[in-house]
Amino acid sequence: METGRDRPPFTAGTSSDVPSSARTPGRHCIRNDRLEGKDVSTNSLKEPTDRGRAGDKIFSGVSLAAGVLILAVLFSVAVFLLVQAAPTFTADPTEITGGEGFAAYIVPIIIGTVIAATIALVIATPIAIAVALFISHYAPRRLARAFGYVIDLLAAIPSVIYGAWGYIVLAPQLATVYAWLAENLGWIPIFTGPASQTGKTMLTVGIVLAVMVIPIITSLSREIFLQTPSLHEEAALAMGATRWEMVRMAVLPFARPGIISATMLGLGRALGETMAVALVLSPGALVASLVKTGNQTIAAEIALNFPEAFGLRLNELIAAGLVLFVITLIVNMIARFIITRHKEFSGAN
């Protein structure tokens, strides 16, 4: 689209016949034949830059190709997963794990995935937003940067290490808490006993996932909180608002789309998180109780079984991956939709 503008009609006939080396010496003086034309200034300015045109074309072409490649990759993720998953859908239901077809196999682990992610978000979102507020508006200015750095480092801890920590440190400690919960609050369906002796339950998974999600939501919300126009904040304070009222009236409304997108990203991470679940949970059939052994998530199911799988089992696990892909795709698209709908709140642009 640059090229159209680069070549004015006037030059097309006259000066492009002249070799560029011959032209260069005269680039600063305005020649007579030029003065007679209409586009005097344009021509004399545009003329020497002709030399870089190929570079321009190549560069824009290559960067366009890179962008298109990304679309192609995402598209091919869907296609390849679909192709490799296809045998599962046509296979005899009795050959699928569980012997009752793919739906009976996948639904319990979808529910398990959603439960784990829900627990994680319920715990993580309020804490993460509060931590982000702490760093952006409450902590002493001089320390805020260091605190932010600490939280950033936490987002960087690999998931397998969180998993190992949940497996070896957290679960045994929570086992006693679960026993107490099952004993005293057992009438609530989610705390029905008998509680797991090892603590390797859905609730532990949810807590570990929450720990992993907190830094993500925090670092994104913090960025948004810091972008709040300080005029809004100062106006609120000048009207006599307390700090909390200022945050509620100026910071939170401004940051709402950012918080939503941060939470959705956290949800995506929690839905797809594999290693923490694979290490922490001792899987089993779908149960309502969060303190009993049982339940399974899609990602952990794949990770635990894929290395040894072959034949139809392999296709089955890829189909499960496809389901997970579709779920996260939907979550992300809803998130994008919410963000674009709330875009008018953002005063930044």
């Binding site: 962008g67 390849f80 804490i127 605190f147 720990v211 990602a299």
Partner: protein, 368 residues
């Protein structure tokens, strides 16, 4: 005289209805004592003491403020406590993770661990080392090599693609339909679960080279699916904040667009881009799930990413914990796992630190 009176009244107006500044500390001290007493009643533990103290303190301080300063200030104070509390609560697991990794990882981090592989280390070897009390044999050398090679290849694939895409989005696309589609799908790609990226690479190479193709390069492709969107997003943000005046100045001098981009725009943003790339490396270096399904698991050294299974640090940790080399004596395996975890965390921390350093070292000079 009259002026003096007004002055006095104004001063008292400013402090009227405020509790003295020591009030909160008094409440805190009382809560600590009360917390100790209450937790002693139900069986003393530090955790119980801390929890009771925190609850008592927040409730009492809020009520005291409500009585002394009014409802609005009480609400403000309550939120302040909750925000500080949330931060402390968030630090708790993080300190615990780091402490665990340090405490359990340091004993295993020896020269032997760093420079030998798991080749030939069997359950019998581990049993012998437990029985005789000899040092644990076997290490993570093969895994370190695997991690570095796979991450290197992933970076090699992702950075050019990510960088050029960001350039297209900011400099060429400028909000046309294709650019909007790319932005949208890059956002969607950030949300791809890591294991799905792994399955994609596995499925791709299964179609191309037959099922069960597992090499380091497949893992690198899987990781670059995760890495590209991160690189695109961070680079895009950095290119966007390059002031438009710089571009316009370059155009006004007759500089070609691609020269403007490579000579003006990218150098201005290079610190941010470099630190974004480093952070994206830090993100994928610890990924486990995609490697599990693409590179398999090896216990011996493999320098070739294009053939053979490859061990990496994350999968090493995973397998050492979940399936100890010797089922009857899992301690050596656990020790190796934590040492590997410490090594992995050190790598990630160094990369993060590196990103910070790059960002500050190559930052455009703004002060004059």
């Amino acid at each position: 005289m009259a002026a003096n009176q007004t002055l006095q009244r104004r001063q008292s107006q400013l402090t009227r209805g405020r509790l003295p500044s020591y009030a909160v500390w008094v409440v805190l001290a009382a809560s600590v004592v009360l917390g100790a007493a209450l937790s002693a009643l139900i069986g003393f533990s530090v955790v119980g003491w801390a929890v009771i103290t925190a609850v008592v303190f927040v409730v009492t301080a809020t009520i005291v403020t409500a009585v002394g300063e009014g409802e609005r200030r009480a609400k403000d104070r309550l939120v302040t406590f909750l925000v500080y509390g949330a931060f402390l609560l968030a630090l708790l697991p993080l300190v615990s993770v780091l402490w665990t990794v340090l405490e359990r990882g340091i004993p295993g981090l020896s020269y032997n661990f760093l420079f030998t592989s798991m080749n030939g280390v069997t359950g019998a070897v581990d049993n012998a080392s437990v029985e005789n009390g000899t040092p644990v044999l076997g290490g993570a050398y093969h895994a370190v090599i695997g991690t570095l090679l796979i991450t290197f290849w992933a970076t090699l694939i992702s950075v050019p693609i990510g960088l050029l895409t960001a350039v297209y989005l900011v400099e060429y696309g400028q909000g046309n339909r294709l650019a909007r589609a790319i932005t949208f799908f890059v956002d969607v790609m950030t949300g791809i679960p890591s294991i799905v990226a792994g399955l994609f690479a596995a499925a791709l190479f299964a179609l191309l080279f037959g099922p069960g193709t597992r090499t380091g390069f497949v893992a690198a492709v899987a990781l670059s699916v995760l890495m590209i969107p991160v690189v695109v997003r961070s680079t895009e943000e950095m290119l966007k904040i390059v002031p438009n005046e710089l571009r316009e100045a370059a155009y006004a001098l007759g500089v070609r667009k691609w020269r403007t981009i490579t000579r003006v725009v990218i150098p201005t943003a290079i610190s941010g881009i470099a630190s974004g790339v480093t952070l994206s490396i830090a993100r994928v270096i610890g990924e486990t799930a995609p490697i599990l399904v693409t590179a398999g698991f090896a216990s011996s050294i493999n320098w070739n990413v294009f053939s053979g299974w490859m061990g990496t640090l994350p999968t090493f940790i995973y397998y050492q914990i979940l399936t100890p080399t010797s089922p009857t004596a899992p301690d050596p395996s656990t020790q190796r796992a934590w040492a590997a975890a410490l090594l992995l965390i050190l790598m990630v921390m160094l990369l993060n630190l590196g990103a910070r350093l790059i960002a500050s070292m190559f930052a455009p000079k703004t002060s004059r």
